[in-house]
Structures are given as C-alpha cells and as structure tokens.
Amino acid sequence: MKKIINDPHNVVAEMVSGMTRSYPQFIEKIPDTEAVVRSDKESMKGKVGIISGGGSGHEPTHAGYVGEGMLSAAICGQVFTSPTPDQIYAAIKAANQGQGVFMVVKNYSGDIMNFDMAKDLADMDDIPVKSIVVDDDIAVENSLYTQGRRGVAGTLFMHKILGAAAQQGASLDEIEELAKKVLPNIKTIAVALSAATNPEVGKPGFVLKEDEIEYGVGIHSEPGYRREKIKPSKELVEELVGKLNDEMHLDGSKKYACLVNGMGATPLMEQYIFANDVLNKLDEFKIKPSFMKVGNYMTSLDMAGISLTLFEIKDDKWLDYLNFPVKTIAW
C-alpha cells in the first residue's frame, strides 16, 4: 500500500481538517465531530436542512456537496464505515433552522441503523426529521426479503435535487414527497478495473488480474456480478447500458440525466472516452441527455473503474433543480 497519508487510523480527521481549512468559504467543522456544516449560515435561514453522510473514502462525497443550494451538513464516518448516531445528531442540530431536517441515507445496514438512532435522538428534541434511503445500484438483485440494493453514485442527483428544492423553500413534507418520486428513477451500474485499498486494512478488497475487469462492483469494493477479460470501452458501455435498459426501458421520448463517475484512480481521459461511447449508445435509443456530468463525484478511494448513472427526468422541475446554481466545493 503506497498512500500519501500519515497515520492510517487518523485519515478521516486529517482529511476533514484539510477540506474545511482549504475551503472555509463553503464549509466548517461542527465542533467535536467529523461532520461539516455550511459556513454561510445566512443561506440556510428558514429552509429545511438537507443532510447526508456515510463512510469516508468517497470524496468529494459527502462534504464536497455542502453549500448554498445543496447540502446543509454532511457527516464523515470512518473509512467505508457509517458515522455514529451522535455525530449524525450533531449534524441534524446544525442543519435545523426550525423547518426540520431531511436525511439522505444510502441503503447499507450500518447507515440505516445509525441514522435511525440519530433520528430517535432528534425526536427527543422535537426536531422533525424525515429521510429517504437511496438504493440506485442495479448490480444487486432487488428483493423484498433481503437488504435490497446498495446506494451509490446516483445519490448525487438526490442531493442536488433536494438541495435545490430546499433552497427554494420547499417544506419538509414536500421534500419527502419529492424524494420519494425521484428515487425510483435513478439507476446506477459500475465496472471496476481494480479494488480500493482501505488504509486501515492495508490491502485491496479483491484482486483482479492484469487483464481482468469486474462488472457490478460496489463503492466499498463489494464484489460484482461477473468477472471477465478487459474489453474496449464501447463494449463495457454495451454491457452497462444494456443492464440499465433492462431495468429502466430506455425510451427516446423521455428525458434523462446522465452521470459518468470515476471511482478515484481512473483518469478523466478514460472517463471522457467512456462518456463518448455512452452518448453513442444512447443515440441508438434516440436519447440525448438533458443533463450530463463526467468526473470523480462518488469515488471509492483508489479504486479504478467507472459507474454510469441514468436518471429519468419525469418532471421538468427536476431539470431546473439540477441546473440550479450552487456554491459547493465539488458539484
């Protein structure tokens, strides 16, 4: 493991410190936590607070999306480990402006339980808290009887849409309704060239051969659904868009947003080449994305790979929310 760090057990604290000190215009630390809140308190006044969080290692997620028009606060857990309820609770209190707080949670046992416990704490303070559990990763079978699907890069769209709505004055109930409507329209699938190495663990989550890739890997190096030899970008796109189409039934008469997301160690050049192939493939469906982003938005430490998110925009208002200006480090 070759990493630019000091103590593997202290990476989160140092990372949060580096982030808040580099960008004091956007975020500041909530004292005694590894959570951050908007520096611009004025921009939060009278609005519903939107918070998000989870394990660290997904930078710029989550703290990079805190700022006017997007998240109010974010909680940075240990690497790939859900943050604890006390820290989430601190973020709830920092985000609450009397209109309540909405939590964006990704569908992992740990995240759900810790955010739930934080909500219990907030209940005792009479802070109204609601939440949505994002489960956009279609690599995993959907099932009522299990945990269900993972929350991955598509969460970015949820942050953006709810953040814009809150900034424009939506109430907690309206935010909840919006979140519920948006959720089933966001789908993501990934391909990995190599797994992430958690600094505390010191070795990669799995090892792929020099010519191997794996489809369907999660953002914590959870194994995917198939391993095979590396293919040209076009063919990776064929597989991933194929899976998304099975799930979403792509339709040229509908509008879509598209996110090509680098996993951390994948150069932008490769991401743009991949994006080009995605656009070619979508052309076959007569789809030209109404909104598009390419870059490292929801990473997995030093994992090499790309995820592709498609989001069916059922309501033009959602597109306005995506285009609504924000002041954050990373959107």
Partner: protein, 194 residues
C-alpha cells in the same frame, strides 16, 4: 448467574482482549463477504469501552449505559448500533433484574428490533438466538459457541453487507457472529458468573 459491576467489568475487559487479539482475523472474515473492517470497528469500540471502565460505575445500569454509549459513539457501521443497542437494552432491563439470562434476552430483542434480522439471515442474531437460551438454561459451553458461530458459514446472507452477494455469501463465517462468539466466550470465562 447474577451480574455485578465487577463481573461486568471483567467480562468486558476479557471481551476487549479477545477483540484486540483477533482484530485482524475479524477483518479478514469481513473481506470476502463485507468490507474488511469489522475487526477495526470492534477494536475502536472496545478501546473506548475499556477507557470508560477505568472509572468504576455506580451501579449495573450505569455500567451498561457507559458501555452502550462508548460503542454507539465510536464503532459506527452496522455493528456499532447493534452492539450499542444490545447494551442499551441491558441497561434498561438492569433496573428490574440482574439475572444474566434475562438481560441477554432483552439484548437479543434489541438487536432484532434494530436490525430486523431473523435467525437464518447469517448475522450475529444467529449466534445470539442460539446461545441466549443456553445461558438461561446454564448450559453454555465453548463447544456450543463454536457450533453456533460455524453454523453461519453455510447460510445465505439476507441482511447486512453480505446480503448483496446473495448465494455467493455461502461458505464464509459471518464476522459479526464470530465477534459475538467472543462475547459469549468471555462470559463463559468470567469467574463466578456461570
């Protein structure tokens, strides 16, 4: 089979020792079917617990609560709220009883409530639901603990991170079950308890 502040303390210190020694092993168990951090999570938590235990609690309830809060606020992940809830429930229960079997029963109910797992879902619930009755019956043994932990190996995970693997989660012992096994072993080894 009644617990005191002192026996609770030695039980916990013993548990902390086991976690520390097996930290890497627990994380290794968490690698093929999870994210490889269970040992580190538990170790972080038990260090905080040990810290808390250096000051003697006024009573059993305070002791349980201290342990619960230390776990809840340092472990994170899935195991943090689950172990935290277990000890929080024991704290609540300890106002009415100091019977170990009763306390552990409350803990198990708390874990199931918090995480929604049933026996057979390949989680720590499998170990707890198997062993709590043994504690109550006074029949807990090293052998039974081992068997309870091992039983998770052939299960298909329905909850937690391993559930994303579906059928492929088979063939691996569940890390949270292994750490729970240590908790029961530590109990077994605590003098004057069972």
């Amino acid at each position: 089979m009644t617990l005191t502040v002192d026996t609770l303390t030695s039980w916990m210190n013993n548990f902390a020792d086991k976690i520390e020694v097996n930290k890497q092993y627990l994380s290794d168990l968490d690698t093929p079917i999870g994210d490889g951090d269970h040992g580190f999570n538990m170790s972080r938590g038990m260090k905080a617990v040990r810290e808390k235990l250096t000051t003697k609690s006024v009573d059993l309830q305070a002791g349980f609560k201290n342990i619960a809060m230390a776990l809840i606020s340092t472990v994170g992940g899935a195991s943090g709220p689950l172990y935290g809830t277990a000890f929080l429930e024991m704290a609540k229960k300890s106002s009415s009883t100091d019977d170990l079997g009763e306390l552990l029963k409350a803990a198990l109910a708390g874990i199931q409530n918090r995480g929604g797992a049933k026996p057979g879902d390949k989680t720590m619930v499998d170990v707890w639901s198997e062993l709590v009755p043994e504690v109550k019956a006074g029949t807990l043994s090293k052998d039974k603990i081992e068997r309870a932990v091992e039983s998770t190996k052939d299960m298909v995970a329905k909850k937690g991170r391993a559930s994303y693997l579906g059928e492929r989660s088979k063939g691996h012992v569940d890390p949270g079950s292994e750490s729970s096994g240590y908790l029961f072993e530590a109990l077994l080894e605590t003098e004057g308890l069972l």
